[in-house]
Amino acid sequence: MWQYIVRRVLQAIFTLFVLSLITFFVAKVTPGSPLGLDDPENAAKITPAMRKQLLEQYDLDKPVPVQYVLWFTKFIRGDLGLSLTYRNEHVQDILARTWPISAQLGLIAALLAISLGTLLGIVAAVYRNTFIDYASMFIAVIGVAVPSFVLAIGLILLFSLTLHWFPVTGWGTPERMVMPILVLMLGPLATTARFTRASMLEVIKQDYVRTARAKGLLERVVILRHVLKNALIPVITVAGPTLAGMLTGSVFVEQIFTIPGVANAFVGAIGGRDYPMIMAQTIIFGGLVIFMNLAVDVAYGIIDPRIRYS
């Protein structure tokens, strides 16, 4: 298994390298100059000498491949460079400021989504074709189908502007956290619930479950001992993509609720053609996605002994 993990990690490093290359060159074709140098408003104020000095300071005067090599050598030494939108601030400082907020939002939402989603799926499967099942699956279908930004707008209309329960923007106090977490978790929760239910129903059909029932075990014991253990294994496989999907969700949630997190900083960096920020963020997000996929694959193999690594 270690051999397998090492190979996957090496592959991941190569993937991240290619990701950084592509992102760098795509960021560089973006028309317009960073630092607002081409802005006609600024053009009058910036003397040629200043312009030259600024370009040199940020390595923007060199050919693009050279810029990439410079960025890369700094990157492997842990220096992510100076941000172009937040002047004179290091990218690592901005990330250190924004990440804890996003991580808090993401982790709470992820934990709630997976635990409640699994629970909802189990309950729906156990009480299949009853009102409980239909109600759970109604929630799940809404959660899968309604886009996060539409849901956010709906919740703001209802809870903030009509009922005045929660404030619309910001982060930090519990009442400010309710709606962003709700919006971010509903999609993954619904996906998990649907998948868990399908997986449970698949297992309930199996012969060994019929055997367990036939030998007179209590329904509770059948479900807890025989069904649940086998049904939850495939649910792990959707956890990876589902959590990765929360990165997308956080872009909208942080924008709509003006949360000073990392996704907001990313969108700001795009607007400002802030390539050191874009690069750092893409690598981190990419690394996160790869890591989650790897973790899921490894966890799957540990839990299900039928899986062989190759």
């Binding site: 592959q11 991941a12 993937t15 991240l16 290619v18 990701l19 992102t23 795509v26 960021a27 074709v29 973006t30 028309p31 279908v141 809404i142 899968v144 189908a145 309604v146 886009p147 930004f149 539409v150 707008i153 709906g154 703001i156 209309l157 502007l161 990765a244 990165l247 997308t248 872009v251 909208f252 924008q255 709509i256 990313f266 969108v267 795009i270 607007g271 053609r273 874009i278 963020q281 893409t282 997000f285 990419g286 996160l288 996605v289 790869i290 996929n293």
Partner: protein, 310 residues
């Protein structure tokens, strides 16, 4: 499924089928053709029929937008801006006095065009590369799969944001950005199906009769994996629509004054407190489309996925 494919094989050998063969073909087909089977199963699924009906309404709305829409979606009326719903304007007017209902109807055209066109591109690229990789194996497979591995690790939506920022907003750019980021899933799916199918006996017999690679792929393999492709397509279209509206909502998708539901949501969100109708209607319509496609997609998957066959 086997019966149809094997009869196709006997025909493939010498071209025109004999009368007896045609007779047999018809008999077999009437008994259990994949498509009529699938259609029967789909018809039994009420939710997916509702989904299909809603989608058909949207398609008709898109085709006959010019006839149905009560107003010109681009016609501004500064004497009647941000009016709440009324008899003249059933869904009210926006910040430039344009009729929201008319813009939603024309928006269906934009959304469906993006959804279907991007998925046609995705299907073309995905089937082509997936077939190559799956059928030939060896280094072709290795190269294509390494590329998909890299794409797979990309945080898709963030990469979409980067691409749109780099190449600029607009319909064509969005179409290619969507295809560029979404072909990977289908290529992997097609490759996986290919690997299974090419070891089946009817392919072997076809090859032993001297059929060329191209003929085997086009006549025998692709028709057999069409079911899986249709299911992927039915989930890809709403995905692309969601990406378009999401990017437009963030201001980097389509260019105003295009009647895009995402742009309308963005306009409405800015003045949510005072004019909730501006965001409410496009949001509801978007959620309804997503719901319809989810129902249809679920139904199609149950109807076409051979593993679920009862």
């Amino acid at each position: 499924m086997d019966s149809t494919t094997s009869t196709q094989d006997s025909r493939a050998a010498d071209g025109a089928p004999t009368a007896a063969e045609t007779d047999l073909n018809l008999k077999l087909r009437r008994q259990s053709s994949l498509w009529s089977d699938a259609f029967r199963r789909l018809r039994r699924n009420k939710a997916s029929l509702v989904g299909l009906a809603i989608i058909l309404i949207f398609v008709l709305m898109a085709i006959f937008a010019d006839v149905i829409a009560p107003y010109d979606p681009y016609k501004t009326d500064f004497a009647a801006v941000r009016q709440p719903p009324s008899v003249q304007h059933l869904m009210g007017t926006d910040k430039q006095g344009r009729d929201i209902l008319s813009r939603i109807i024309h928006g269906a055209r934009v959304s469906l065009a993006i959804g279907f066109a991007s998925q046609v591109l995705v299907a073309t690229i995905g089937i082509f590369l997936g077939s190559l990789a799956g059928y030939y194996g060896g280094w072709v497979d290795t190269v294509i799969m390494r590329v998909t591995d890299i794409f797979y690790a990309f945080p898709t939506f963030l990469f979409l944001i980067i691409l749109m920022a780099a190449f600029g907003r607009g319909f064509v750019n969005l179409l290619f950005a969507l295809a560029f980021t979404a072909w990977v899933g289908l290529a992997r799916l097609v490759r996986g199906q290919m690997l299974q199918l090419k070891q089946r006996e009817f392919i072997e017999s076809s090859r032993s009769l001297g059929a060329s690679d191209a003929r085997i792929i086009v006549r025998h393999l692709i028709p057999n994996l069409l079911g899986a492709v249709i299911v992927a397509f039915s989930f890809g279209v709403p995905g692309a629509i969601l990406a378009e509206t999401g990017l437009s909502f963030l201001g980097i998708g389509l260019v105003p004054p295009t009647p895009s539901w995402g742009i309308m949501l963005n306009d409405g969100f800015a003045v949510l407190r005072s004019y909730p109708h501006m965001a409410l209607f496009p949001g509801l319509v978007l959620a309804l489309t997503q719901l319809a496609f989810l129902f249809l997609g679920d139904g199609l998957r149950d109807a076409l996925d051979p593993r679920m066959k009862r």
